[in-house]
């Protein structure tokens, strides 16, 4: 049973990662068409990717958007998670479900809803519209992991700190925050990646000058078949991987020390 299970796991991972490997291999193709087998090995499409203004603009838009959305969503999610984990009030479960809803509602529905709301509110500034939408995307991911960390936090630690003379704010700063930090960091990584990779919601909210990288890649694919897209995708995959690994190590290390 055990070898069979291991085989199944291996098969699943291959299923998930094989397409990524294909993309990386194609990006290194010296030929002019994104296809297999490889004609020759080359890095020319990587240079081409960086010469394509649309990609660079998309990369910049997606990056600032993901960073800003994560930094705004994280403290909001922290506050919401603490309220839901600690306090006992009527409609607590409903509030939690409501705050987690952006994960459950299809992105395309959220996108249309935000587009309609934005036009109703005369909100024509694409960066602002996008930022609001991406905070919405980032928020549930932050909240879920922070909430999980909070439920593992023994309330007697808070009692202990208060009897030792800490007021609520100092309890938060010295006890709660350090102990939920791994969950906070993990949530921020998830949120960043979700925001960075989002297509369905952003689709409705961009304009000509503010286009996210995934949308740029999509529109590029409509008219081009060269491996530039593969090169850009490979770079993004690599960056995401390094970010996740790096921050996980940071958070994991802190946790081991604590």
């Amino acid at each position: 049973m055990r070898p069979a299970f291991a085989l199944l796991i291996a098969a699943l991972y291959i299923f998930i990662f094989a397409p990524l490997v294909v993309v990386v291999v194609i990006s290194l193709n010296g030929g002019t068409v994104a296809s297999l087998p490889i004609e020759s090995w080359s890095l020319r499409w990587y240079f081409k990717a960086f010469e394509t203004t649309a990609f660079i603009n998309g990369l910049w838009t997606s990056t600032w958007l993901a960073v800003a959305a994560t930094l705004i969503a994280a403290p909001l999610a922290l506050a919401a998670a603490i309220a839901i984990a600690r306090a006992d009030f009527l409609g607590r479960n409903e509030l939690e479900a409501f705050l987690m809803a952006p994960i459950l509602v299809p992105g395309i529905v959220i996108g249309i809803a935000l587009l309609l709301s934005a036009s109703l509110l005369q909100l024509h500034d694409a960066p602002v519209r996008l930022l609001v939408a991406h905070v919405l995307i980032a928020f549930p991911y932050c909240m879920r992991t922070i909430y999980a960390s909070l439920t593992r936090l023994d309330p007697v630690l808070v009692d202990g700190a208060m009897t030792l003379g800490a007021n609520r704010w100092r309890v938060f700063w010295h006890i709660t925050l350090p102990l939920v930090r791994p969950g906070l960091i993990a949530g921020m990584i998830f949120a960043f990646l979700q925001s960075f990779g989002d297509v369905p919601i952003s689709l409705f909210l961009t304009d000509a000058r503010n286009n996210t990288l995934p949308l740029t890649i999509m529109s590029y694919l409509e008219y081009n078949v060269d491996p530039t897209v593969a090169a850009m995708s490979s770079l993004v995959t690599l960056a995401s991987l390094l970010l996740a690994l790096g921050l996980e190590r940071l958070a994991g290390l802190r946790r081991a020390l604590g």
């Binding site: 630690l157 202990g160 030792l164 020390l257």
Partner: protein, 390 residues
């Protein structure tokens, strides 16, 4: 009560929905006293402790320390040291940082913090453990750090909520001795919560036995053990023979009781209100009963047949049927030494039993508050208020 009350709890009442977690609890504790709140789970002992610490608000009543009303003072300004059952050490801080936490919250200068932290760790015999993290310590060491952390702030009162419950027996006994020694040396007023009778008897200057949110009895360990006032206290302290007796007559110092043809004499105690012909419960500890030669006659003696026998190491516990009625059984506990002296007895043997009058304790079934109302019952010629026994 010899001195002034230092910690005063007055009519503290706390409801959780319809249940009364605390029911008009009144308690006076003197400076430097070590008081244990003892009782089964849900009796209100931990609730009382949390009320003193400020971790919960009482609905009615007041809590004062050294003449100052603390009922409405927030937790972090009470200066009360608390040691929790699972130690509540901060896992992300070193031992030294844990101990210094209370000083840091009081903005004590760094140099003083280091000095006082080192002093507190030395006090609990862990001077070299400052740099470690709590998870690197054993359970006993963690509790010592928790005690150091609570004491370093020079608290008004030290509260301990079943701090040794998770430790094994041997370590628990060591920690009890150490704690008792430590609180004496520091001279701190301490309130300790436990459900363990032995622990309470070992540690305390006074024991407060609680049941269902109210206080059953307050007294020295000896008084609680030897002279329980209520059925609950007698039962909880292991007086397994609680006999439903009828009062036959009362003289100046003793009452004569009848129980299924056996006559018992018991000393009168200050709190007794006895009326001839009334039924009262009398407690008799299993270890107070001696096995004697037959035939038995007279007061405080009976005979019966051994119906069960349990060997418990240092003791042998016998169940003896003294008559045909199912209630007519006595639990007798013999030490192995006594057993060797008297010769072994087997199930089915008929043996004689006897005990001292001083070991029979007349109980009142009702809690203290109800007992007070009995004062209003008109005294008849048959009723005698017991004089305080010398």
């Amino acid at each position: 009560m010899t001195g002034m009350s230092y910690l005063t709890i007055d009519q503290a009442t706390k409801h959780y929905g319809a249940t009364r977690a605390l029911d008009e609890v009144c308690l006076d504790i003197e400076v430097g006293e070590f008081v244990t709140l003892l009782g089964p789970s849900g009796c209100g002992k931990s609730t009382t402790l949390r009320a003193i610490a400020g971790l919960l608000d009482i609905d009615r009543g007041s809590i004062a320390i050294d003449g100052r009303d603390f009922t409405k003072v927030p937790i972090h300004r009470r200066d009360i040291g608390v040691v929790f059952q699972n130690n509540a050490l901060f896992p992300h801080m070193t031992v030294a940082q844990n101990v210094a936490f209370g000083l840091r919250m009081r903005n004590v200068p760094l140099a003083d913090q280091a000095e006082r932290t080192a002093g507190a760790l030395a006090l609990v015999h862990l001077p070299d453990f400052g740099a470690r993290y709590p998870h690197q310590l054993s359970g006993g060491q963690q509790q010592r750090v928790a005690i150091a952390r609570a004491l370093v702030i020079n608290p008004r009162v030290l509260l301990l909520d079943e701090p040794f419950a998770a430790l094994d027996r041997k370590l628990r006994e060591e920690m009890q001795m150490e704690l008792r020694d430590l609180t004496r040396r520091v001279g701190i007023t301490s309130v300790f919560v436990t459900h363990d009778q032995e622990e309470a008897l070992t540690l305390s200057d006074r024991i407060v036995v609680m049941n269902a949110g109210h206080i059953e009895q307050v007294g020295t360990p000896d008084a609680i053990y030897s002279r329980p006032e209520t059925r609950f206290v007698a039962d909880f302290m292991g007086a397994r023979n609680i006999l439903e007796t009828t009062i036959v007559c009362i003289d100046a110092t003793n009452a004569t009781l009848a129980w299924h043809g056996t006559t018992l004499r018991a000393p009168l105690l200050a709190h007794h209100w006895l009326i001839v012909d009334r039924v009262v419960a009398a407690a008799l500890r299993p270890e107070s009963i001696r096995i004697v030669q037959l035939p038995m006659e007279g007061e405080n003696a009976t005979s019966g047949q051994v119906i069960s026998k349990i060997d418990q190491g240092a003791f042998v516990t016998l169940k003896v049927a003294t008559g045909p009625h199912p209630d007519e059984t006595l639990i007798v506990r013999q030490t192995k030494v006594d057993q060797a002296r008297n010769g072994p007895c087997a199930i089915g043997d008929t043996i004689g039993l006897s005990w001292e009058a001083a070991d029979v304790v007349i109980l009142r079934d009702a809690p203290r508050s109800t007992a007070r109302t009995q004062v209003t019952i008109p005294l008849t010629s048959q009723s005698i208020r017991a004089a305080r026994t010398p």
